[in-house]
């Protein structure tokens, strides 16, 4: 561990990223991911359709990961800061509906629609952050409340598909750079940016400090309120990006897009599955990415094996609890007591 931290700089970015993964508390998550992938490959090959390790299927796993992955990257930031965001699912819905409603199928309104939803995201994040830091409302209640408010406004204004997404906008959801879909590029860019932010910027280090102990970091000269507010703005923007991706896959936005995906609880589950501590101050976005991929591989394997879709939730619940129990057990064993 100390070897990894004392000799940075020389190695190239990919090598550093690999070392980052190995040193991350989430290293076992990648092991679990690989094992799960192999098991699924074999199982689907023998029992199921036999279509697992095909370009098409792997691409499908990745595309499935984009929506959850992007919002989970944002969720990672707030959780590291010791907060959490239960409003993201409704913000995803708001984004999908508003973007589609503004565009009304007109390609020349794409920029306007994207700008408006990003602005909404910044405002929602700012409101979440201000309620938590200035009114001193527990993040659970603050973001639950803001989520409920968004839901009320949304459901009172729209009750069905609204507007239309122009074909040009659907490119994000369906086209790509050669074999690589744009959506996967979006996921990689968001995760890489978050990783860089957490690891190499002053803001990133402040996030860990605030998440570790808000009081200590404040006394050490970190403006903890600003850090938490910024974290919430970034998280909300990530949710907006997920909403934009989802609406580009649909022909029109509907108010149930975000809640159907349960992006609030699923994103928290993915973050925690990736080894980030719910209490804050510990973790990283690469673990979250692995958590998201684990959920997607499971999904895909279930489809390939034609297992009852209802069993999916049960297994997800078991894996979630078991994984976190494992991390806790490891963490208890590791340090000298």
């Amino acid at each position: 561990m100390s070897a990894a931290t004392t000799s940075p700089g020389r190695a190239g970015l990919p090598a550093r990223m690999v070392r980052g993964i190995a040193a991350a508390p989430a290293a076992p998550v990648y092991l679990v991911l690989v094992i799960l992938f192999l098991i699924s490959w074999v199982a689907v090959g023998i029992v199921g359709s036999g279509q697992f390790l095909t370009v098409q299927n792997v691409t499908s796993i990745l595309v499935r990961s984009v929506a959850l992955g992007v919002v989970a990257a944002g969720q990672t930031i707030v959780i590291i800061a010791g907060s959490l965001d239960l409003s993201v699912a409704y913000l995803v819905s708001v984004t999908a509906v508003m973007a589609s409603f503004i565009m009304q199928g007109e390609a020349d309104r794409m920029v306007l629609a994207t700008g408006v939803v990003l602005f909404i995201g910044v405002v929602v994040g700012l409101v979440n952050g201000l309620i938590i830091t200035k009114l001193r409302v527990n993040a659970f209640i603050a973001t639950l409340g803001v989520g409920l408010i968004l839901r009320g406004i949304l459901n009172a204004s729209f009750n069905n598909f609204a507007g239309r997404v122009p074909p040009e906008y659907q490119a994000l959801g369906y086209d790509g750079l050669g074999p690589i879909p744009y959506s996967v590029v979006l996921l990689v860019v968001v995760v890489a940016a978050t990783w860089y932010l957490l690891r190499y910027t002053r803001f990133g280090h402040h996030l860990y400090a605030v998440g570790g102990s808000q009081e200590v970091s404040r006394l050490s000269g970190v403006r903890s309120d600003r850090v938490v507010i910024t974290a919430h703005i970034l998280c909300s923007v990530a949710a907006v990006l997920t909403g934009i991706f989802l609406v580009s896959r649909l022909r029109a936005g509907a108010p149930w897009v975000g809640t159907d995906g349960a992006y609030d609880l699923e994103s928290i589950a993915a973050v925690v599955l990736g080894g980030t501590a719910l209490a804050g101050g510990k973790g990283g976005v690469l673990g979250t990415l692995a958590g998201v991929l684990i959920l997607a591989v499971l999904d895909n394997a279930f489809n390939g094996l034609q297992i009852n879709a209802f069993a999916k939730d049960v297994i997800r619940g078991v894996i979630l609890i078991a994984a976190v129990a494992l991390y806790v057990a490891r963490a208890r064993r590791a340090p000298a007591r």
């Binding site: 527990n138 839901r151 609890i321």
Partner: protein, 339 residues
């Protein structure tokens, strides 16, 4: 006590002891009795909005509808005061509604065994939640979120997505019916009696027993409580069991008037937490009161009713719920800072 009998306190100290008696009552309510004032105001508004005026019958039917949430809030409070969350209660309620229909299938002789089975189920879920939280060290948010997925997925799996069967009439009585020929109010809903009995039991357990004091101690500062001799794991696990059992009772009440569906209990976990928070419970533990949490639940349902009368779309409910829980917690933390 002496403050209540003027003869025993004839001197200057009399008003002082009187206020200390009041203060003691205030404290036993959890110190955040403003929710009681809000409840009375909301109930008065509901009465005025009712086209037939403030009839007692109407309030009793409101009590009937609020009963499942009130019971859930009383149970959730134990977990919140102990410093944890229980997100699994909504799925337990669903399991009870669906389970009681499928297992009894309208056969009244099966009602009692099924109720016993369901109670055992609630206890087991609470035990598992508690042990995973305390022994495996998994945050309760994750444990109970995982449990929510497992139970709601399990219900879907069990019923293949479409629950069949019917809830027996004698099981439905508890949530739907009441004592007949009661003077003044005509009919006293069993649900009201259940709230009273469960509420009283929860009140005594949390505010008047050693166990209850330990729940507060553990939630206030687990390490200090452990050093003082409390078994943190046992206390927290017991709190989860109380919450699990309360979810079963709430489910049985809901089965009385709610429809049979796979999402009967959805969202109840957040409403129950909201109710406790309205009643002054603090997330993170150490603070809360049974009486004001139940009042919080009644207020929430009364506000929903008020919105109905104002002909606002049903969707506005959630926005109002969101606004008031933020306001309530912001007010509480403001009060705490300013002394």
């Amino acid at each position: 006590m002496s403050g209540l009998t003027p003869a025993a306190a004839p001197q200057v100290g009399q008003p002082v002891t009187a206020t200390s008696g009041g203060a003691r009552l205030w404290r036993s309510l959890g110190g955040s009795a403003s929710i009681l004032v809000i409840l009375v105001v909301v109930l008065a508004i509901v009465g005025l909005l009712n086209p037939r005026g403030p009839e007692p019958v109407y309030y009793l039917s409101l009590l009937k509808r609020a009963a499942p949430l009130a019971i859930l809030a009383a149970g959730q409070l134990f977990v919140l005061v102990a410093g944890e969350f229980d997100l699994s209660v909504g799925s337990i309620v669903t399991a009870v509604v669906v389970g009681s229909a499928v297992l009894t299938n309208g056969d009244e002789s099966r009602t009692l065994p099924v109720v016993g089975l369901l109670l055992a189920f609630g206890i087991v879920v609470g035990l598992v939640n508690g042990l995973l939280t305390t022994k495996a060290g998994v945050p309760s948010f994750i444990v109970t979120l995982g449990m929510l997925l497992i139970i709601s997925g399990g219900v879907l799996l069990w019923t293949a997505g479409a629950p069949r069967g019917s809830i027996t009439n004698n099981l439905r009585l508890l949530g739907r019916d009441g004592l007949k020929n009661v003077p003044v109010i005509d009919q006293l809903p069993y649900a009201a009696i259940v709230i009273l009995v469960v509420g009283l039991a929860a009140f005594v357990l949390l505010h008047r027993t050693n166990f209850g004091h330990r729940v507060f101690a553990v939630g206030g500062n687990a390490r200090a409580a452990a050093l003082a001799g409390a078994n943190v794991a046992v206390v927290k696990t017991a709190a989860f069991v109380v919450s699990g059992v309360s979810a079963i009772i709430a489910g049985i009440l809901l089965a009385g008037f709610g429809g049979l569906s796979n999402n009967a209990g959805e969202g109840y976990e957040f409403q129950a937490i909201s109710a406790c928070v309205l009643g002054g419970a603090v997330l993170g533990g150490g603070r809360g009161s049974v009486v004001t949490s139940i009042a919080g639940a009644l207020t929430l349902v009364a506000i929903f009713t008020m919105l109905n009368f104002l002909h606002l779309p049903v969707e506005v409910r959630s926005a109002v719920q969101g606004g008031i829980i933020i306001a309530a917690v912001a007010y509480a933390s403001y009060r705490q800072r300013t002394g």
